[in-house]
């Protein structure tokens, strides 16, 4: 994902959610640049591909995140769960960042 540009680095990462029915497991890797990329997995995820991606992007935008890699394992969750889990992962990643004392771009 970030192998091309040497300057682009993952500054923090965190996970939220669970691999259970109607839930999703989200891993967010915050970056300094490179935009948003979302990888979606799940048996039925293709049926709601657009909606799931939109929800994830909305959640990232709401928290002012413009550069991140998101890995989303979906287990038939509704959009509100996607938004919540992405938000939690972002907040946890930010927490990690603050603990590490690094500056947030």
């Amino acid at each position: 994902m970030c192998k091309e540009t040497p300057r682009c680095s993952i500054i923090a990462a965190a996970t939220a959610g669970f691999e259970r029915p109607q839930d999703c497991k989200v891993t967010v890797q915050l970056k300094t640049e490179g935009g948003i990329s979302i990888r979606l997995h799940g048996a039925n995820a293709h049926m709601f591909d657009r909606s799931i991606r939109q929800s994830a992007e909305d959640a990232l935008r709401k928290l002012d995140v413009f550069h991140a890699d998101v890995e989303l394992m979906d287990f038939d969750s509704l959009d509100f769960t996607i938004r919540a889990r992405v938000a939690t992962a972002v907040r946890r990643a930010v927490c990690e960042l603050q603990k590490a004392g690094a500056a947030v771009e």
Partner: protein, 515 residues
């Protein structure tokens, strides 16, 4: 008048006016019976040493039609055994006419690919076989999906000729008298098989329990049977009796069941002498429990319950809530035992059950029937055959027959399963037309077919959450979002036949989602 002396020395006229030509008695051993298994004496019976011999003797050859029943459900060994033998004999291009196909019939994938089976008629199919048909187009000709009643109609009318019927029985004697309710592999009613036995050219009985003559009871009599084969096992008893009768504790299912029971009560049909049919799923069984409470409180005795019979229904029979059970398929061991022991638990064949061309069906005597669905649309059309992604995974069964016949047909389903909305604009495949559906009951609302304003009025007055079917669709959509529609190819992989032989819908092959 010219006379001929017969073998016993009697003078027999050759011809008499008003009667016709007379044939003089010749020999006691000259038989004209149809039974073809005999070479010499009748008393050896129709027993042949193995399946291979039975197949050879039946005269099965390329291009013919064979049939099987699915009373052994997921525990069936017979179809696989017979198909393996047929393939080994090099016979090809057969049409398979099954009452239905289950997860036990995955072997057909291989036989289709190798050209042994080139046509299939069935009420349904599941698992790997269904997926291979839907997605991989392994069969050139489309599968013809028929209801139980429609299959019986087409067999009886001759439209569907069966050359050889392979009938598994858990008990059989050497002359072919058989039943399904005794023996280690007992499965209950032989309702679907009875039609095959009646009309097929040749009938092969396959049992793992050969008994002394005569078998008792007799579901299919010897008069219909050509060959009898004894094998080690016709099925897995665990899987035969599996499925039904788990009491649902799922709270959402219980809410749906409560509403469904109240719709039945609100319709005014639950009174002395009423008749009822439901499936074997969790919701259906819960409806039976709530119904029982109401019947107990109000001292109501029903006339009959029908269809696939579970122990929940046999309990109702024993406790006097119904006068009789009419059983076309038995779902569990307790119900099998009831069939054997209780005179009021009666076997019925598919013609009596649902053949629209017969002189009257049980389906048309029904007051209320309950069915589940994978999808329902705003026209009340029901899909039980394909999933929302377009892949075949279910069976028509007797649903379209009983929905057409019953005074009140209720669909019960959760409004969403996982993230899939169940009430949609248009179902992927129509298996029962909306004309025959009176109400759709979900945990969030009840929609009544606009053709029944009085029923809707009554349910509203009862305080039930009645709303339009469009509202149900909207509620579902609001929660799930709108799913991507499945992508279909050009091939027709299935035809959905209505019970009268007309075409209800067409199933195309499903293309993979582009990722």
């Amino acid at each position: 008048m010219n006379n001929i002396k017969n073998r016993l020395g009697r003078d027999i006229p050759q011809e008499l006016s008003g009667i016709g030509t007379l044939r003089p008695y010749e020999h006691p051993d000259k038989r004209t019976e149809r039974c073809t298994a005999l070479n010499d004496k009748l008393c050896c019976g129709k027993l042949v040493s193995n399946l291979r011999e039975a197949i050879l003797n039946s005269g099965l050859s390329d291009g013919m039609t064979i049939s099987f029943h699915h009373h052994l459900r997921g525990g069936d060994y017979v179809l696989a055994m017979v198909m393996d033998e047929i393939a080994a004999l090099g016979i090809r291009d057969l049409t398979l006419c099954a009452s239905s196909l289950t997860t036990a019939h995955g072997c057909l994938i291989g036989h289709i690919k190798s050209g042994v089976v080139t046509g299939i008629e069935t009420s349904g199919m599941r698992g790997a076989l269904a997926k291979a048909i839907s997605c991989d187009c392994i069969l050139d000709k489309p599968v013809i999906f028929k209801t139980h009643g429609g299959r019986a109609r087409s067999i009886e009318s001759g439209e569907r000729k069966i050359d050889v019927a392979f009938i598994a029985a858990s008990c059989c004697d050497n002359m072919g008298n058989m039943n399904g309710c005794t023996g280690k592999s007992a499965f209950g009613s032989m309702g679907y098989a009875m039609v095959d036995a009646r009309f097929a050219d040749k009938v092969v009985a396959i049992t793992d329990n050969l008994v002394a003559y005569p078998a008792c009871p007799v579901s299919i009599p010897q008069t219909m049977v050509d060959f009898v084969v004894c094998v080690d096992a016709i099925g897995d008893p665990q899987l035969i009796g599996q499925g039904a009768t788990r009491n649902s504790k799922n709270p959402v299912e219980l809410v749906i069941a409560q509403y469904a029971a109240q719709v039945m009560i609100g319709s005014g049909l639950v009174k002395d002498g009423f008749s009822y049919q439901a499936g074997s799923g969790g919701i259906s069984l819960a409806v039976a429990r709530f119904l029982k409470d109401y019947m107990k409180e109000n001292n109501i005795r029903g006339s009959f319950a029908s269809g696939g019979i579970t122990s929940a229904m046999t309990n109702l029979l024993e406790e006097g809530y119904f006068q009789a059970l009419l059983d076309v398929q038995t779902f569990d061991a307790e119900a099998v035992s009831s069939l054997l022991k209780n005179r009021r638990h009666m076997e019925m064949d598919a013609q009596m059950y649902a053949d629209p061309a017969s002189k009257g069906t049980v389906a048309s005597c029904l007051d209320v029937m309950i069915l589940s669905a994978t999808e329902v649309d705003i026209h009340f059309n029901v899909n039980v055959l394909t999933a929302s992604n377009g892949v075949i995974m279910g069976a028509l069964g007797g649903h379209p027959d009983t929905a057409a016949g019953a005074k009140l047909a209720i669909v019960v389903a959760p409004l969403l399963r996982k993230r899939i909305p169940i009430v949609v604009d248009e179902v992927v495949t129509i298996s029962t037309p909306g004309d025959n559906i009176d109400a759709v009951v979900t945990e969030r609302g009840i929609a009544v077919n606009p053709a029944h304003p009085e029923l809707e009025e009554r349910l509203i007055r009862m305080g039930l959450p009645v709303c339009s079917i469009q509202k149900l669709r909207d509620m579902a959509c609001q929660l799930t979002g709108i799913p991507e529609k499945p992508r279909f190819g050009e091939n027709i992989v299935g035809l959905v036949e209505y019970r009268d032989g007309t075409m209800l819908d067409v199933i195309h092959n499903v293309l993979p989602f582009s990722s």
